[in-house]
């Protein structure tokens, strides 16, 4: 099993009450997780331009710091992502217009985000998607959580000398959209100089490790055990039949 860094505990708590350095790190991580969901939600809901939505997104994250919104979050009343959506709904766009465009770029340049990719994905989705703004927010949030978990799993595999495990995982589970079918285990074994049995075992282990990485990320992005469990079920569980 790949060794992951110790789970850092709730980023929400650290961002709301930690020392200055920890608070800054936690806010950065929260922004990384929520930038794309908030941006996409604003674009879907308010039909704003890219520049306006990026500015509003930046204002939202500035508000988390300046207005102490995180300190007011009560996990017994709502999930964090629901709370964030409510905050975004309450934003006063006119107030921001008056502030000018000094923060254009949405602060995303400070984060490891591919803003152009987020923008292009929104514009492609907006043309064809029937999603509500809330559904778009949920989808982007899930994408953020999984993307962070993939990065974490990749780093753990590199550190532990398990590059083959990550390569097999990537070939089978990440790069599938480039091909209509998932690769055969025999082909993966040939490509990586191993056996099909080893591919089976490596992929099973990779999924266990990746599942753990997702849960670690989720634990950091939630503020209570109950919220963590609810989010884990929403993200990883089977949807109840309609």
């Amino acid at each position: 099993m790949a060794r992951f860094p110790e789970t850092r505990g709730s980023l929400v708590a650290a961002a709301a009450a930690g020392d200055a350095a920890a608070r800054s790190r936690a806010l950065g991580a929260l922004a990384e997780a929520y930038w794309a969901p908030v941006y996409t939600y604003i674009r879907f809901k308010a039909r704003r331009t890219h520049e306006e939505a990026a500015d509003l997104t930046q204002e939202f994250f500035a508000g988390l710091v300046e207005k102490d919104w995180l300190a007011r979050f009560d996990p017994s009343k709502a999930r964090l992502r629901t709370y964030f959506r409510v905050l975004v709904d309450g934003l006063d766009a006119n107030e921001w217009k008056a502030r000018g465009r000094a923060k254009r770029g949405g602060g995303a340049r400070d984060l490891s985000l591919d803003v152009d990719a987020v923008r292009a994905a929104y514009e492609a989705a907006a043309a064809s998607s029937q999603d509500s703004p809330e559904q778009a927010f949920e989808r982007e949030w899930a994408r953020s959580v999984f993307s962070m978990a993939v990065e974490r799993f990749r780093a753990a595999c590199a550190r532990d000398g398990r590059e083959v495990r990550f390569a097999l995982f990537a070939a089978y589970d990440l790069e599938g959209d480039a091909a209509p079918e998932r690769p055969r285990y025999e082909d993966l074994a040939l490509r990586h100089g191993t056996t099909a049995v080893d591919v089976t075992n490596q992929l099973a282990a990779a999924r266990r490790d990746f599942r753990r990485a997702v849960l670690d990320v989720l634990r950091e992005l939630t503020a209570s055990e109950a919220e963590f469990r609810a989010e884990a079920r929403a993200l990883l569980g089977v949807e109840p039949p309609a």
């Binding site: 591919d114 987020v118 994905a121 099973a204 079920r233 990883l236 089977v238």
Partner: protein, 297 residues
């Protein structure tokens, strides 16, 4: 990195699906979700039969969910009844999740299956729901989560009570888990419950069955049965499921139900309806006899 929609959906599947390596089962796909777990269809390879696997749906740390799922399996395994799904096997998967294997039931949930059916049909199905619940009570188990999604009508007419995840021994169960609207007040308050909590649940279930569109007309007697089953105080309900079922049977047979005090006119109307031919013959006889007496004078 930004994951594509395809990659995201593939990853979600990969970590949602149970890891069946090292087991006798081969995964077919997800079937649905229950109170505490997800249900997957799988093939039991040595026997070549389809089964349902209930698996803790989220691989969380801690043993609480696993212990609860295995407790549910043990409860079900201890209850052998045609109205209950038989359990074949239970254990742990390679990914650490607890699971149990049971008979795969194909059918529809109760409220969907009863859409468009007549009142007598609905009541007869309800009586068949009562049977396994009464059996469980006799075996010392109370279900505590009776509601339409937890009752299935199989393809061959079988009625099955599912999802025993909240089941507890009849005496002493005390936590506030359950489904609002179907959960007895004492259960919602976290007080100890007994079989009468399921009487309440069955009353709510009967009410739900009767509301499935197009909803049939409900008599005052039927409303009284639902009302007694759903009484706020456990002591005001039927003493047990057999008493509730007996009242519903009396209603179906045109008899006088215990839950409703009828007046004279209602009694006459019920008797006429129940014994229509006999009453008609007696009435005809009396009229003819009366005419005969008049003519003789």
């Amino acid at each position: 990195m930004r994951l594509s929609d395809d990659a995201l959906s593939r990853l979600r599947e990969s970590i949602r699906d149970p890891d069946l390596s090292g087991t006798r089962y081969r995964l077919v796909g997800p079937v649905g979700a229950g109170g505490m777990g997800a249900v997957f269809e799988a093939v039991d390879e040595p026997l070549g039969r389809r089964v349902a696997l209930k698996v803790v749906d989220v691989p969380l740390d801690g043993e609480e969910a696993a212990a609860a799922l295995l407790a549910e399996a043990r409860v079900l395994a201890g209850l052998e009844h045609p109205g209950l799904v038989p359990v074949h096997d239970a254990g742990r998967l390679a990914d650490g999740r607890a699971y149990y294997a049971m008979k795969l039931v194909r059918g529809r949930r109760l409220d969907e299956a009863l859409a468009g059916s007549s009142l007598p049909e609905r009541l007869r199905v309800f009586l068949r729901v009562c049977e396994p619940v009464a059996f469980a009570h006799a075996s010392g188990v109370v279900h505590r989560d009776l509601k339409p999604p937890n009752v299935m009508l199989g393809s061959f007419g079988e009625v099955l009570v599912l999802d025993w995840g909240l089941a507890r021994p009849v005496a002493g169960a005390a936590d506030a888990s359950g489904t609002p609207g179907f959960m007895a007040p004492e259960q919602a308050a976290g007080r100890p419950v007994d079989a009468r909590a399921d009487v309440y649940g069955l009353g709510a279930l009967l009410d739900a069955i009767l509301r499935v569109p197009p909803a049939p007309a409900r008599s005052k007697a039927l409303d009284a049965i639902v009302g007694r089953a759903r009484a706020t105080e456990p002591g005001a309900r039927y003493a047990g499921v057999p008493a509730l079922a007996a009242d519903v049977e009396r209603l179906l047979d045109g008899g006088r139900v215990e839950a409703y005090e009828e007046n004279v006119l209602e009694r006459v109307a019920r008797v006429v309806k129940r014994h229509g031919v006999a009453v008609g013959l007696v009435a005809t006889y009396l009229v003819v006899r009366g005419l005969f007496i008049l003519l003789r004078r």
